[in-house]
């Protein structure tokens, strides 16, 4: 887990991870590189991260990967990331091709859905929460009146 202020240096991170595992006898290395698209008139995206919970989330994934003989890695930007630069790299190393392909998919999707990271469009220097692209985390709504816990007889 690596957090950086601003855009990621993609080549350096990719190469360092490759070097780290040069002798580990993994047969497949799949990085996922996320690049900020120019759309909707944005000049950048910007990110807030809550590090303690992100760390716990990631430790869960490291354990899940280890059960399959694989490892997962990621780097993410904090703050502003201009269009056409990278905010995010995830990667899987695995002895087997199938495990690597399945893990990178599941890892990237869960990252999107459950990592405690908040995204903002930057337009004319203003930071606007990307509400339309954001997803409630697992367990969301526990403090709302309509929360599912009530059905289980929890007092309100």
């Amino acid at each position: 887990m690596e957090l950086y202020n601003g855009s990621l240096d993609v080549k350096t991170i990719f190469g360092r991870w490759l070097d780290e595992h040069q002798q580990s006898n993994y047969g497949a290395y799949i990085p996922f590189v996320g690049i900020i698209r120019e759309e909707g008139g944005i000049e950048a995206l910007s990110f807030d991260i809550y590090e303690p919970i992100l760390r716990t989330w990631f430790e869960g994934w490291q354990a899940r990967a280890a059960e399959r003989g694989a490892i997962v890695k990621f780097a993410h930007a904090v703050g502003d990331v201009p269009v056409h630069t990278s905010s995010y790299i995830s990667a899987v190393f695995s002895p087997q091709r199938r495990v690597a392909l399945e893990l990178i998919d599941a890892f990237v999707e869960d990252f999107k859905a459950n990592a405690p990271i908040w995204k903002y469009d930057v337009i004319d220097g203003k930071r606007i929460y990307a509400e339309d692209r954001s997803t409630p985390m697992e367990g969301a709504g526990v403090l709302a009146g309509s929360q599912k816990g009530e059905e289980l007889g929890v007092r309100n």
Partner: protein, 73 residues
């Protein structure tokens, strides 16, 4: 007293609240302007551990984090 912190776009300073469970905290927050509208879509952590249990007990000095909808990557 517990401390409630509001993450990401909620943009509120931390609050001190008296509450013995998450359910009681929900009651305390439901009329707070700039907070109540986030409760339906936010997840919760007690001392940095995620929980979805409204019965979860709170004790003096606990930190509760309110996590609105996310979008990493």
């Amino acid at each position: 007293m517990i401390t409630v912190e509001f993450l990401g776009p909620i943009g509120k300073p931390p609050m001190e609240v008296e509450a013995g469970t998450l359910g009681e905290l929900a009651e305390a927050l439901k009329n707070v302007e700039g907070v109540s509208e986030w409760l339906g879509t936010s997840a919760v952590a007690i001392n940095d551990a995620m929980t979805a249990d409204r019965n979860a007990p709170l004790k003096d000095g606990d930190k509760v984090s309110i996590l609105p909808p996310v979008c990493g990557g």
